[in-house]
């Protein structure tokens, strides 16, 4: 397909790999964090790691919205779905995430709760319009790409005067999560591959403080393999030259200011939460959005008086450390044995963009072989 196939050219990828090998200095290590789950997926799907020299390490960050949602919020969604008269709509990858006692939305659905998988927030709004006798709640998750569509349906629900549609907002912010990683200093990060589609919305400007404050090179990259490799090359060059700038490889979709219309709609409907709990990162100030008082009628947390409880992860599950970039999926003793995509224990195995699912699907044999050889 146009604008996809051209960025998957195998010969060019090999040439870019040669360029990376030539420029990466073997005497030093390069820890590059790809923040977004889409990049994690691309790295494994196209075998990019295998094309890189040993001194370049990709570290998987907290950029998968399914992975970072803590168990307490999953429990809230299950609680909502089990309320009489409530229909809960959610994106498909949330269905299998285990909450407390390993109960997922899928299990709650099997037990009789009315839970609908939707492709779009617009589908949830339509279900509300078609079922006026039900209270329809949209379980909204995601970073800056899914937030504008949620804002659109709240504005539409207001225009339509719907009184049976609410949103359970779990929208989170990319710069806040990058900031939390930088601040903790736990993971050894020398450069960041900035998210593709999040950046189409927020632009490249929000990353500029990281470059300045933490002397951290950032390169925003598209999701195709050539984009990813070009961004890795650009990061290596910055590191070698001692530069720390925000560079944009994905100029075909990302500008410095991003999508201003989408930003305006989000700002109209949402405001910052003082703090929000993330799996792996704990409570992070100013890292998530809540619905403004003006649109309180569409806020499920207010209408159904939800309270959030912090729930500890499964004691053997390493999702938290993996999200922080401190551990690798193979460091988890549940990986590939108890925890598989068919039977996920932790969130990183549930979503196809989770680091564990990507390792399991594309990289588990190769990685295991590599470990045997060392």
């Amino acid at each position: 397909m146009k604008y996809i196939d051209e960025f998957r050219d195998g010969d060019l990828a090999r040439k870019l790999a040669a360029d990376i090998r030539r420029e990466a200095r073997p005497e030093r290590e390069y820890g590059l964090m790809e923040f977004c789950g889409g990049h994690t997926h691309a790295i494994f799907r196209y075998g990019i790691q295998g094309l890189l020299p040993d001194c370049v390490h990709m570290i998987h960050g907290p950029g998968c919205p399914v992975c970072v949602l803590p168990i307490g919020r999953v429990d809230n969604a299950i609680e909502l779905a089990r309320m009489p008269g409530v229909t809960l709509c959610c994106y498909g990858d949330m269905l299998r995430v285990p909450g407390s006692g390993r109960v997922s939305l899928l299990k709650a659905k099997a037990d009789g709760a009315d839970i609908r998988m939707v492709y779009s927030s617009a589908d949830a709004l339509k279900i509300a319009q078609e079922n006026p006798e039900r209270q329809v709640v949209f379980f909204a998750i995601g970073f800056e790409t899914t937030t504008p569509p949620t804002a659109v349906v709240i504005l539409q629900a207001e225009t339509l005067g719907l009184n049976n549609f609410t949103v359970f907002s779990n929208h989170v912010l990319t710069p806040a999560a990058i900031g939390a990683i930088m601040q903790s200093g736990e993971a050894r990060v020398d450069g960041v591959v900035g998210p593709a589609h999040v950046s189409t919305v927020i632009g490249s400007r929000p990353y500029e403080p990281f470059s300045a404050e933490y002397h951290m090179p950032v390169v925003i990259a598209g999701f195709e393999p050539l984009d990813m490799m070009q961004a890795i090359l650009m990061l290596i060059r910055q590191i070698n030259e001692g530069r720390a700038e925000v560079e944009n490889e994905f100029t075909r979709a990302v500008t410095r200011d991003g999508n201003l219309k989408a930003q305006r709609m989000v700002d109209e409907v949402f405001e910052l939460r003082d703090t929000f709990e993330w799996r792996g990162l704990g409570w992070v100030p100013d890292s998530a959005l809540q619905i403004r008082e003006k649109y309180a009628a569409f806020d499920a947390e207010k209408r159904f008086e939800l309270t959030h409880a912090s729930v500890a992860d499964h004691q053997s599950c390493e999702c938290s450390a993996i999200i922080r970039g401190v551990k690798n999926p193979l460091d988890c003793k549940l990986f590939g044995s108890v925890c598989t995509p068919d039977n996920p224990i932790g969130s990183c195995m549930v979503s196809s963009e989770g680091a564990c699912a990507a390792y399991y699907t594309y990289g588990r044999y190769r990685e295991a072989q590599k470990q045997d050889q060392t």
């Binding site: 040669a18 360029d19 196209y46 919205p65 790409t145 569509p149 659109v152 075909r252």
Partner: protein, 85 residues
């Protein structure tokens, strides 16, 4: 969740809706988040919404940069239909 793809606007409909063509598959999406989209434009589609427009000139520039890399690294020309990795 972040998986989104460039798609060509094949038909403009009322109420900020459009039909996009994804390599032969047609799907109705919302244009509520992007102004002034014209027929034939490429947009990035995510959870049923166009979240931004794709700039064809910038895409060509990136491809030209890759072509340059190919030339500087290897004097042998690339095959016109080299295999995707």
């Amino acid at each position: 969740m972040c998986l989104a793809i460039p798609a060509r606007v094949a038909e403009l409909l009322e109420n900020d809706l459009a039909v996009v063509d994804l390599g032969g598959v047609r799907k109705e999406i919302s244009l509520a988040l992007v102004d002034d989209v014209a027929l034939g434009d490429y947009v990035i589609v995510h959870v049923g919404y166009a979240i931004n427009r794709l700039d064809p000139e910038e895409a060509e520039k990136t491809l030209a940069l890759f072509a340059e890399i190919a030339e500087t690294l290897d004097s042998s020309p690339l095959t016109p239909h080299s295999s995707p990795i």
